[in-house]
């Protein structure tokens, strides 16, 4: 498998350089880490909002660093949670005295490393470190038999709403409240046509035939919850949308994300979006705004995900307030 890389083991390091080189006005890199923070971090008196996770999901998370969104983003190795010491450095660098909220996607590695990092940061003098865990993947049963549901694309809406509220000077309880509100009202589900290829392994993570698809995949090239035969885009759009709607049960205006997994052309995402929107309207919902594109990817995997967030006035206003984060465009 061919990739635009130098030494694969240097990929994350070089990528982080490349991100900061693209957005030097907004971002800087913390020395000797793979952490990117806002250039003006810590913003005194503002609650810091940070996130992080394995690499391979770009533009997640670094693309969401900017005024009105994230203060910091930590990049782990590909699909591997960042280590606790880097996370702790990020928390410290983004603490303007009003506390730091960590937005964590629900994976045991991420949760455990963020937990450890919070302890370390508190020992280093950060007053308050809060954590919210995003678990929007409705494909996964939330039962005693799993580690809870995974966190996927809904996380981006958490970043935006929490980041916007923090930017306005809200205190940490308020920021946590809004983050939890998004988490409670968002659901996602994804599918794959192909496996991704990780730089180190250089081969597909899973084998899949030319007439098969995986339904209910995560963002790490894990197999999905079900393998089915290849069906048309409309059938896929219906399956994903209906399962998300069943879970989220929205009632009025919704925010929608039709996300590409990295290897799928945007034309196909729009074909999917057409049917997603039809279903929403059929269900009496009002799509308030829609994002179509590659927002939280799985390297070069072909496939898509559908995310739906049930909105109220507060969330609409927060989603729409300005941000300089390069990967998020407001309505």
């Amino acid at each position: 498998m061919k990739k635009l890389l130098n030494d694969p083991s240097e990929m994350v390091d070089e990528m982080v350089d490349g991100i900061v080189a693209a957005y030097p006005d907004h971002t800087r890199r913390l020395d000797d880490t793979n952490v990117i923070v806002r250039n003006d971090a810590p913003v005194s008196g503002k609650v810091g909002v940070v996130s992080g996770g394995g690499s391979g999901h770009e533009p997640t998370h670094a693309g969401f660093v900017g005024e009105g969104m994230l203060d910091g983003a930590a990049a782990g190795e590909v699909f591997t949670s960042p280590t606790a010491d880097e996370l702790s450095e990020m928390i410290q660098a983004c603490d303007g005295g009003a506390g730091v909220l960590c937005v964590v996607k629900n994976y045991e590695g991420d949760v455990m490393n963020f937990d450890t990092a919070a302890e370390m940061a508190e020992l280093s003098g950060v007053d308050t470190v809060e954590q919210v865990v995003v678990n929007d993947d409705v494909a996964v049963e939330d039962s005693t038999y799993t580690s809870g549901r995974r966190g996927v694309q809904g996380t981006i809406f958490v970043h935006k709403c929490a980041g916007a509220l923090a930017e306005r000077g809200a205190d940490i309880e308020e920021v946590v409240r809004v983050a939890e509100k998004v988490i409670d009202n968002v659901g996602s589900m994804g599918m794959a046509l192909t496996s991704c290829v990780t730089p180190e392994k250089g081969e597909p993570t899973f084998d899949i035939d030319d007439d098969e698809i995986e339904i209910g995949i995560g963002i790490h090239g894990e197999p999905g919850v079900e393998r089915t035969e290849l069906v048309e885009a409309d059938a896929i759009a219906e399956r994903l949308t209906n399962e998300v709607l069943d879970d989220v049960q929205p009632s009025g205006e919704v925010a929608v994300m039709v996300n590409g997994m990295g290897g799928t052309p945007q034309s196909e995402l729009f074909v999917v979006n057409r049917t997603v929107q039809e279903l929403l309207v059929d269900n009496g919902l009002a799509p308030w705004n829609t994002w179509v594109g590659n927002y939280m990817t799985s390297l070069d995997m072909a496939g898509c995900s559908v995310t739906i967030l049930d909105l109220d006035e507060e969330l609409m206003e927060l989603l729409d307030s300005p941000t300089t984060a390069p990967a998020f465009k407001t309505k």
Binding site: F79, M112, R150
Partner: protein
């Protein structure tokens, strides 16, 4: 060479052996993680132990407990993912038990502390198809072999390795309830757990080291 020096050498040798074994098994572990996880376990462990190897060059004079502690910290800051805090955190926590060196008692205590931290941090129970399934039988068997059966350490360790191997095989036919593999539900059945397997490899490397570097004398109570 006195007892402390021999123990010191044994620990360094053990670390090198473990690192070499994980380097060898890197692709196999990643292969296992491809089937039910995200295809990084071999790379993660290997990256961690490469850093450990570099670090111990500068820690040649530390005592046994400090060296193990340092290994734990390095794993925490280099491995990432689920394996980093689990392996690193457990080792860091358990290292305290070795403050008076390697003895029959201290190695049992190390194993127990390691298992305790592993279960605390990860929240997994036996049978959840995780590294807990390899560590638990190994620690239980080692403890019984030393405390009840009064076996020599190498023999106890050999039994522990055998126990871990059964634990690894046990992960194959069961459903995962923790970790990434749990998202697969029933589809996880039939696959060997990567973390349990890397645990077994580490124990095998320890046993190999023990056969060359440890005898009963070295581990006698001082």
């Amino acid at each position: 060479m006195d007892r402390a020096d021999r123990q010191h050498d044994a620990v360094l040798a053990a670390i090198r052996n473990v690192a070499a074994r994980l380097a060898e098994e890197k692709d196999y572990l990643t292969e296992l993680d491809s089937a039910i996880g995200d295809a990084d376990h071999g790379t993660n462990m290997n990256r961690g132990f490469e850093a450990v190897l570099e670090n111990i060059e500068t820690k040649q004079d530390d005592d046994v407990a400090d060296i193990v502690k340092d290994v734990g910290m390095t794993l925490i800051s280099e491995v990432g993912g689920a394996a980093g805090p689990l392996y690193g955190g457990s080792m860091l926590h358990a290292s305290e038990q070795l403050e008076d060196g390697l003895t029959r008692e201290s190695t049992v205590a190390f194993g127990e502390a390691y298992l305790e931290k592993l279960r605390d941090r990860g929240g997994a129970s036996l049978g959840d198809k995780t590294m807990v399934d390899a560590v638990t039988p190994a620690v239980h068997t080692y403890k019984k072999s030393i405390e009840e059966d009064d076996l020599p350490p190498q023999e106890a360790l050999a039994k522990a390795v055998d126990a871990a191997r059964r634990g690894v095989e046990f992960t194959v036919p069961i459903r995962a309830n923790k970790g990434r593999a749990s998202y697969l539900g029933w589809r996880s059945v039939g696959h060997r757990d990567p973390g349990a397997t890397s645990t077994l490899f580490m124990l095998e490397a320890l046993l190999e080291t023990a056969e060359h570097h440890l005898d009963e004398e070295v581990m006698e109570e001082s």
